[in-house]
Structure formats: C-alpha cells, structure tokens
C-alpha cells in the first residue's frame, strides 16, 4: 500500500529562512522609516508609506488569488488540481494576517494629514479641485474605510468557508450520493466567492486602493488588469510551494503532469496580462487625450521608462519564450526560476502602478525613481511572512484532500 505523508512539518532551514526574511523586512521598514518615514517633509514620508502600501496590497491580492484559483476550478468542476489543492488553501490562509496589515496601513494613510498618496483625502484641496470635488461621492474617507472593511471581512469569511468545506470530509469518506451533494455545496459557495470577488477585486477595490493614487486619471480596464497581474503571480506562488513540497518528498500524488498544467496557466495568463496591458496602453496612446496620457507620461517618457518596459520584458517576453516548450513546463528548475521571475515581475508591475504618483515633485511635475533596495527588503519581509503562515496552515491540515470525489482523477491526470 502506498504510504502518503499527510502531515507536513516545517524544516529548521525553512523556519530560519522565513524568520530571516521577516527580519530583513522589519529592518528595511525601520531603515526606511528613519530615512524617510520620520521626516517632516510630506513627500519623504509618502515614499515610506507608498512602499508599505504597494507591498501589502500586492501580497494580499496575490494570496487572495490563491483562493480565487480554488473557487474558479471548483466552479468549473476541475479535477486535476485536487491533489495539491491543500497548498492553494494554505496560501490563502495568509489572507487574514495580510488583511490586518493592509487594513492598518490603508487606514493610516487615509486618516493621516499627509495627502501625497491620496490627494482626495485633503478636504481643503478637494474644495478647490473641480474634478476631485465631483468624485467626492466615491473618493471619500468614509466610503473608503467602510468598503475596505466589508471587502476584507468578505474575503476572509468566504475563504474560510471554502477551506472549512474542504476539510469537512477528511475523516468522512463519501458515497455516491454524498459525493454529488458535496460537489454541489462546494460549487454554490465557490460561486458566491466569485461574485463577491468580481464586485471587489475585479472592480471597486483597485479603483479605491490603487487607481485613486492618480486621482484625476481613470481607466475602465484598470481593475481587470490588476486582477490579471495578481492572478498570474498567485499561480506562480502556488507552483513554487508545490515544487518545494515535492522536493521534500510530500505530495506523492502530484507529478510533472500537474506542474505542466500549472506552467501552462503561467504561460497563458502571462499572455492574458500582456493583452490587458497592451489594450490599456495602446488605446490611451492612440487617442492621445491629455487627461489620459498624463498617467503614462512619467512611465513612458519620464524616469520610470526603464522599469515600465522591464516589467513587460519580465512579465511577457520571458514567460512567452521560456515557458513555450513542453519540456520547460515539466522541468522543476525552469519552473522554479520562472515562478520567482513572475512574482518579482508583477511586484515591479505594482511598483510602477503605485509609486510614480507620490514620487512626483509638485513644482517640477517630474517623478523620479527612488532607491528600490528598501522596498525590495520590505517585499522580502512579506515573502517571509507568507512562508511562515503558509507553512503553519500546511501543518494544520492533512496535505491531501483524501476523500475528495475528484482526487482519483487528479491521480491519473496527464496532459
């Protein structure tokens, strides 16, 4: 009888690295606070808070995307991913702690008297700005805070429900009728998650948290674009955890076939992200309307030029060329490299979404690129945090959803 290791236990090395990374993150925050956060100048302060905003929102959306992956595959009655779905569930268990961090950071930014990041929080300034005055029905502190809280609570409750449903049958094998009912219940809750997700991540939340940084600007594509970015990064995060666990000898039912499919997702959704990126960019470039092109001015003509095109190279060209061949998608080494590249690439994507606005000098209207080292450090801190909480969640539940009706399909899955 094939013995499966159902209990995950963190290795000492893993623990060391995750704590080390969290240490790096904390150190970076402290350094950045000393150099920028504690300064009297509002712009220097804003550089500090922008870093916290970008990192916390990015990692929250990426870990939430892991639950979206489960909900979407559940809704589609997919069977291939069941052998490693506990990994995705564990990553989504980071959402509670990241929700709290992000919530606190957002609250701090919105309620502070520094309005560099969110210009619309400056009620005095808004009174004289026709456009912001018009938008005040949506861009106001009250609505921001209330809707953010509702969103975070919703993600957490629905994610927890889907995880609870998954673990419910760990000790109760299902008969045929029970299996049908189980799949049905999961499908219903997955649908509810997807609907709530589309009302938040695919619409209102990026408008509030990210698009309002450049408060005069607007783009109907923005939220779908942000979603695509976080989704492909989410897939990369799931893949890298699957590879890590397989290297330790866990996930016996997962093999190259599943990795191949995860590689296909990374390939396909990188191309999809590029498609959305191109649509937004080309349409604004083509019509050349000044109200819209101001957004791309620092990013394409200004100092952010290098980073802007670098994100396209990392997020499009690299996955397109490297993940095209069948062999590449079945190779642990290549996939690991690509996962890290994609996670970094979309981190950079969020960077160029968040920073150019706050880094703009109000007198010269020039936006410069800050020294990214501290931001990278904070990012690594979040990585350490995710490692810590994911490992904890992995250990809290059996690694294999043994009684899931589709698990056998996952076993014989081949591409």
């Amino acid at each position: 009888m094939m013995a499966i290791r159902e209990q995950f236990s963190k290795t000492k090395n893993f623990n060391l690295i995750s704590l080390g990374l969290m240490g790096v993150g904390l150190l970076s925050i402290i350094i950045l606070f000393i150099t920028h956060g504690a300064s009297g100048d509002h712009r220097m302060q804003a550089r500090f808070w922008a870093s916290l905003l970008q990192n916390s929102v990015y990692f929250l959306l990426v870990t939430n995307a892991a639950m979206f992956f489960i909900a979407a595959t559940t809704l589609a009655w997919g069977g291939w991913q069941v052998s490693f779905r506990r990994v995705s569930e564990a990553i989504s268990s980071c959402v509670p702690v990241l929700s709290i961090t992000t919530g606190i950071i957002l609250l701090a930014i919105v309620l502070s008297d520094n309005h560099t990041i969110y210009h619309w929080t400056d009620t005095e300034h808004v009174k004289h700005d026709k456009i912001l005055l018009h938008k005040a029905g949506f861009l106001n502190k009250g609505f921001f805070i209330v809707w953010t809280i509702i969103t975070l609570v919703g993600w957490n409750l629905l994610g927890a429900k889907l995880r609870q449903l998954s673990r419910k049958i760990d000790d109760r094998p299902l008969d045929n009728a029970g299996a049908k009912k189980y799949i049905w219940d999961n499908t219903v809750w997955a649908a509810i998650f997807i609907v709530f997700f589309s009302l938040t991540v695919m619409s209102s939340i990026p408008w509030l948290w990210l698009m309002s940084i450049d408060a005069h600007w607007y783009s109907t594509m923005y939220s779908w674009y942000t979603f695509a970015s976080s989704f492909v990064a989410g897939i990369a995060l799931i893949t890298i955890f699957v590879i890590y666990l397989k290297n330790l000898g866990y996930l016996e039912f997962t093999n190259e076939e599943h990795l191949h499919d995860l590689g296909k997702f990374m390939f396909a959704f990188s191309v999809f992200w590029t498609y959305l990126w191109f649509s937004q960019f080309m349409l604004i470039w083509y019509a050349n309307i000044p109200e819209e092109t101001t957004y791309f001015e620092p990013r394409v003509e200004g100092a952010w030029n290098g980073i802007f095109w670098l994100t396209v190279i990392i997020n499009f060209l690299a996955p397109l060329l490297i993940l095209m061949s069948r062999g590449a998608k079945r190779n642990y080494g290549t996939l690991t490299f690509m996962c890290i590249l994609i996670l970094f690439g979309h981190w950079m994507d969020f960077y160029q979404m968040v920073f150019p606005g706050p880094m703009k000098d109000p007198e010269t209207s020039v936006s410069h690129v800050p020294m990214m080292l501290a931001d990278l450090g904070i990012g690594l801190g979040f990585v350490g945090l995710i490692m810590f909480f994911t490992a904890r969640a992995l250990a809290n539940a059996p690694l294999i959803a043994k009684n899931h009706p589709f698990l056998k399909e996952s076993l014989i899955h081949h591409t």
Binding site: M1, M2, A3, I4, A76, W77, G79, K130, I131, H134, K135, F138, P173, N176, A179, K180, I183, V195, S198, L199, M202, S203, W207, Y218, S219, T220, M221, Y222, S223, W224, E252, F253, K264, A268, V271, Y275, L276, S279, Q280, M282, L283, I284, Y286, A287, I289, E291, I400, K402, P405, F406, L407, K408, E409, L411, I412, H414
Partner: protein
C-alpha cells in the same frame, strides 16, 4: 491494468444510451445518408428566399449608392456596423468551444464542436458582407490590400483599426476554416467508406483527401489540432478585440474606453453560445441526437452563458461608474442622457439591452432552469436580441447626439434595404447551415469515439467498484506506472 480512462461518477455521462463505436457511426451518419426530409426542404427554401432578398437589397445599395440606407451626419455607422459586430461576435463561440475547451480538456465539447465551428465559419461569412458592401464603391474593395501599385505606390493605412479588421477577419475566417476542415477529414473518410451510392463515394472520396486512419497520421493530426487550438485561442481574443478597437481608438465619448477589448470578447462568447444553443436545440431534436447533445451539454453551455453574461454586466456597471467618475461632461452625457435615460430617444434600446443581457439570463442561476429546454431556447433568442441592441446602443447613442446640438439627429430608422441586407445574412447563414447539416456530420464522430470509454454511459456504470476503493489502493493497483 492501465486506468487512464477513469472519471468520477459524480460527473454525468456525456454519451447516453449505452453506445458502442459502431452505433455512434450509425447514429451520426444516418441523417447525412438519408434523403432530405420535408422539414429540411421547407427550412432550406425559406433560407434561400431570405438570401435572395438580401442579394436584391445589396444590389439596390450597390447600384444606387449608400444613400439607400439612412446613414447620415452624424450617424455614420448604423445597422451596417451593428450587424457586422453582431455576426462576428456570434462566430466566437465555435472557436472557443473547439480551441479553448480543447486546451482545457473538456470532454463535453465533442458533442457540440463540429456544429459550433461550422456556425463560426458561416457567421464570419455573414459578418464579412457588411464591411465589404458598406464601402459603396465595392469594385474598389481591393484598395484595402497592401499590394505594389502605380499610385505611388500608395499603401494602406496600417495605423487604422479598420484595416486591422481586414487582417483580423480574413485570418479568423481562414484559420477557423482550416481548423474545422482538418477535424472533418477523418469523419469524411468514415462517410466515404460507408457510402454505397457512387456519387457519395466520389464526393466524400475527394473531400476526405485520402485519409486512412494511419497511426502516424493521427499522431500528426493530434499535434496539429493542439497547436491550432493554441493559435486559435489568442486569435479568438484578438479578433473581437480588434473589432472593439474600431470604437475604442476613437475619441468619441462612449466609444473610447479601455475595457472594450475584454468586454467585447466576453460579449462575443456570450452571444455565440446563445446562438449555439438556438441551433443545437433544434438540430438535436430533428436529427435525433439527444444522446450525444445531452441535457448536460445544454446545462454546461448555459453556465457559460451566465458566466459571460455576468462579465458583460460587470463591464456595463464599470462603464457607467467610470463615465461618472471621469468628471468628463461628455462621457456623462453619453451614458446618463443618451443611454440610461429611458425617456431619451434611444433609452428604450438601452433597457432592452440591459434586461436581455443582464437581467433575464440570471434565471440560469437555478439548476432547473438551466436544464429546461424551452427556457433555454427562449433565453438564447433573448440574449441574441440583447446583444444586437448592445452594439446598436454603443454605435448609435454615442453619435446621434454629440458635441454640436444643431447637428443632433433625432431618429435613425433603417430603410427596407438595410433590413433586407440583414435578413439576407440570416438567409446566407441558414442556407449554409442546412447544407452543412445535410452533407456533413454535425457531431465530430471520431472525437465522440475518443471519449466513449471514459464518458459513455456503459463505461461509467462499470466504474462502481473503482469508486468505492480508497485512494491509496487506487494509486497502487489502478494506475499504470509505466505510462
């Protein structure tokens, strides 16, 4: 024992009636080999009449000019482009079912892909009529081709989305045709080998290109299908994206919005699946193919309809919100006065669009409704009406009342020749579909056989013992480790 063909018994069978391979061949070939029924002749006859009326309408427009239509300043695009986008959108379901669902390994696509792909080709043929005939001086249509000429050489404007359309639609038609036909080759060989009449043997002999079913050929065929699917997937997205660029690259309020590309694609899939439902509900009944195009197929396509319909709904809400959020008075006017105001001259069109596309399809949240054939048929027609109005609303409400009130045209009504042209494309579409369903198998025979041992009713019933076994035992005994 290698058990690569297991699937959970929670999933219902996709081929009912305890079929074996020969029965599949029989069931699908029988309607093709039978003489056309009275019903077929009536349907074909009506289609041809509509087609002839369309030909005459186009003749009137070509002979007497585009003035035969009611287009005028400022409404430069009306029924012509609405119909163009509508037909192109419908065509997208076929490629999606063939290509994207192949990549997602969805077995249920085999019951519907052949008919859906045919639908795509005919829909694209109909769509292509509009850009061609709306040129007016159609004898100069070759001007859109970049060829060396004596006028400079004067090249085409590669910067124009209207030219991107030329490349997109021609590529889409070509690739869809190749994908459809390469899939048909083995089935045509089946018909050839079964044929007893000489003319059938000759016809299918020529059409099947000499296909024998050799393993090496199947190997290449699989590789070809997979790569074509991989190509067709971004192609499907690109075609309706490029069509959306016709509007989005402009500066017209209500047209210039960055969400158009994916929103148009979702809408295309939405209307395409609705048309597939309309066609297949009738086809399966008339040709007695309910065991291959089962209620499960109908239900899962309805799920796609509600998914894409909801995406379209989110896009509508996003557009409305952003029109307000932008603080641009022209955007607000286009959306809140020209569209959402039910008392405005075209407000009624906006609310037909909203109810048919967003409100009514919500009924598919209920399982009983998804599995009800009458509800499905009725709703599929409603969705297509709604999607026609969506294109009409986008095009006309943005241009009939724009910046200069003195140029506002109060009403755009189509002339008989515009209506005739549109009806004529229905004639073209259904003429082709009737011919297709008479001479070609409407279901992919080889592909159904390919999934029989996993999704066929008899084989699923035999899985009882395996379902009861524990996962560890399953892994040990039933998985062929050498594979």
């Amino acid at each position: 024992m290698s058990l690569l063909r297991y699937e959970s018994q929670v999933r219902p069978p996709l081929v009912e009636g305890h079929k074996d391979y020969h029965q599949i061949t029989e069931d699908i070939c029988r309607p093709v080999e039978a003489a056309p029924s009275l019903l077929w002749w009536i349907g074909f006859g009506i289609s041809v009449i509509l087609l002839l009326f369309g030909v005459f309408s186009v003749y009137m427009e070509v002979t007497y000019g585009v003035g035969q239509w009611n287009l005028n300043k400022t409404i430069g695009w009306g029924w012509d482009i609405t119909n163009f986008v509508w037909w192109v959108g419908i065509g997208h379901a076929g490629t999606l079912i063939s290509a994207i669902l192949l990549l997602f390994r969805q077995g249920w696509r085999t019951g519907v892909n052949r008919a859906a792909e045919a639908m795509t080709i005919f829909a694209v043929m109909c769509a292509g009529q509009f850009p061609i005939w709306h040129m007016g001086r159609v004898w100069m249509a070759f001007f859109v081709m970049p060829y060396p000429n004596t006028r400079g050489p004067l090249w085409v404007n590669f910067n124009s989305p209207l030219l991107w359309d030329v490349f997109a639609i021609s590529t889409y038609f070509t690739v869809s045709l190749l994908f459809w036909y390469s899939g048909l080759l083995p089935d045509l060989a089946t018909l050839r080998d079964r044929a007893r009449k000489k003319w059938r043997k000759h016809m299918y002999g020529v059409l099947s290109f000499g296909w024998t079913g050799s393993t090496k050929h199947w190997q290449r065929h699989e590789s070809l299908s997979l790569v074509l699917a991989g190509l067709a997937t971004p192609l499907v997205l690109s075609v309706h994206t490029i069509v959306s660029f016709d509007f989005a690259t402009s500066v017209v309020p209500g047209w210039h919005t960055t969400i158009f590309p994916p929103y148009f694609v979702a809408g295309a899939i939405f209307s395409g699946f609705a048309m597939v439902q309309t066609l297949l509900l009738v086809t399966r009944k008339v040709l007695n193919l309910q065991e291959y195009i089962t209620i499960e197929h109908i239900e899962v396509m309805n799920k796609v309809i509600i998914l894409t319909g909801s995406i379209v709904g989110i896009a509508y809400l996003t557009e409305l919100f952003m029109a307000w959020y932008s603080a641009v008075q022209y955007e607000e006017f286009a959306f809140f006065e020209n569209r959402a105001n039910i008392l405005s001259p075209y407000g009624w069109a906006y609310y037909i669009m909203m109810s048919c596309n967003v409100v009514f399809p919500q009924i598919f949240w209920f399982r009983k409704m998804r599995r009800n054939l009458y509800v499905t048929f009725f709703l599929s027609i409603l969705v297509n009406i709604g999607m026609w109005f969506e294109r009409f609303v986008i095009i006309v409400t943005s241009v009939y009342r724009d910046y200069l009130p003195s140029a506002w045209s109060t009403y755009y009504t189509p002339t008989i020749w515009e209506v005739g042209f549109f009806l004529g494309t229905f004639g073209l579409f259904f003429t082709c579909y009737f011919l297709f369903s008479k001479f070609f198998p409407v279901i992919a025979i080889a592909e159904i056989k390919h999934i029989l041992k996993k999704n066929g009713e008899s084989y699923k019933e035999n899985m009882d013992e395996i379902e009861k076994v524990s996962v560890e035992e399953f892994a040990d005994h039933h998985v062929d480790k050498h594979h």
